[in-house]
């Protein structure tokens, strides 16, 4: 183990880890927004909308995230979409995780007993009102864990944008392995930083789940 090397590279890697955090947060925000929309489509009364939602989930979950990133970044200009690597990466990752998150949201809504909706309707709440005030608050608790699992997968998934030269953690690791020929030292530093993010997030999700879902 080359300890001196580790000491020298830590600042650069912390910087790169921050890019990974930014990337994760941006794609998480986009992912949640798109997921809410897709889940609404999936739960719609209109068959065509249900089909559109199902198609979104099926296509994004049925193909590799890596190709989705390449398609947007390299293929985008052919159809008039010019994005820098960071934006292309964040958008592709967000659209990808949205397909998984939509299923987590839908699963939460479907796990709420039908009687809740029926009771709310019979008390005079409209359909939208029942969903908003009665079903969703109960469903939200059930979504914490599955959405948390999706978010953790997203953090690890951000490594994929190293392939389009976004200078995040894995890209930096790859470059330093190439220039120092010390794969184990570089891996150690990179792994510690990823694990702080991944297990920190896991811990946060556990806490939230226990705090809110525990009472349900």
């Amino acid at each position: 183990m080359d300890i001196a090397l580790i000491g020298r590279i830590v600042p650069v890697f912390v910087q790169a880890a921050w890019t990974t955090v930014e990337l994760s947060l941006l794609s998480l925000a986009l992912g949640l927004a798109v997921a809410a929309l897709v889940a609404m489509l999936r739960l719609s009364h209109v068959a065509a909308l249900r089909f559109a939602g199902a198609a979104y989930v099926s296509v994004f979950r049925g193909t590799p995230a890596l190709i989705q990133i390449f398609l947007l970044y390299f293929g985008g200009p052919q159809v008039g979409i010019q994005l820098d690597p960071f934006a292309a990466g964040a958008i592709a990752l967000g659209l990808n995780i949205a397909a998984y998150m939509a299923e987590s949201i839908r699963g939460g809504v479907l796990s709420v007993d039908r009687g809740q909706m029926e009771a709310a309707r019979s008390l005079g709440f409209g359909e939208g009102q029942s969903m908003r005030w009665i079903v969703l608050p109960q469903a939200a608790k059930l979504m914490i864990r599955p959405l948390g699992v999706n978010a953790v997968a997203l953090v690890k998934g951000t490594a994929l944008v190293a392939t389009i030269s976004v200078v995040e953690l894995t890209y930096t690791a790859q470059r330093f392995i190439g220039s120092t020929y010390k794969p184990f030292e570089i891996f150690a530093v990179t792994a510690v930083l990823y694990m702080i993010m991944v297990y920190g997030l896991t811990l946060l999700v556990d806490r939230l789940d226990r705090a809110y879902a525990g009472e349900a």
Binding site: K156, K182, F184
Partner: protein, 219 residues
Amino acid sequence: MQGLDFSIVPEYWPLIGKGLWWTVVISTASAVLSVLAGIGFALLVLYAPPVVRYPVRLFMWLFMGTPLLLQLFLIYFGLVQIGIDIPAIWSGIVALSLHFAVYNADIFRAGIASLDKGQTEAARSLGFGAWRTRIYIVVPQAVRGTVPAVGNMMIALLKESSIVSMIGIAELVHSAQLVISETYRPFEFYLTAAALYYGLNLILEAVLRGIERKVELSR
């Protein structure tokens, strides 16, 4: 903007088809190895003495907390570093197998833990040794309940096998990249590759459903 033209795709089918074939080969090999290694890790974590158990747990913790792409780079460059010079394709298969073995091990461990203790007691009282009981009585029963969860992992493995293109293995994505470097038509060929993965995925899902049904019936 140059517009899209899919009419040139069939011309490159031989190369794309070859990539498709290697994706199937690499995914299948990694899937089998990841299941076998997963069972091994699960048994070690549950039953091995502490000197073995803790390093295995540390390894699992390390691999669950880091991205596959990083692990691939570690194995690809690391093996050379410690004097093991094997073809890139093996680095790819080893990385995919280990990455998914860790997740499979977690699933198997839960499956084994949830199995009725009476099975072990019955086998032991019939004269089976501890490890013979685990391998011949516990594992075969425990594995059945884990088929859906492990199946989901295999679906993820098929898609993530695309990552090995990064170390120059000529699977589907890499073949598409080769064609694109010649034709400058990324959209058409990445979309073609995506469609082929989608097709493979449908086939895999059908196979997994078949296995699930068989396992259900034999219970």
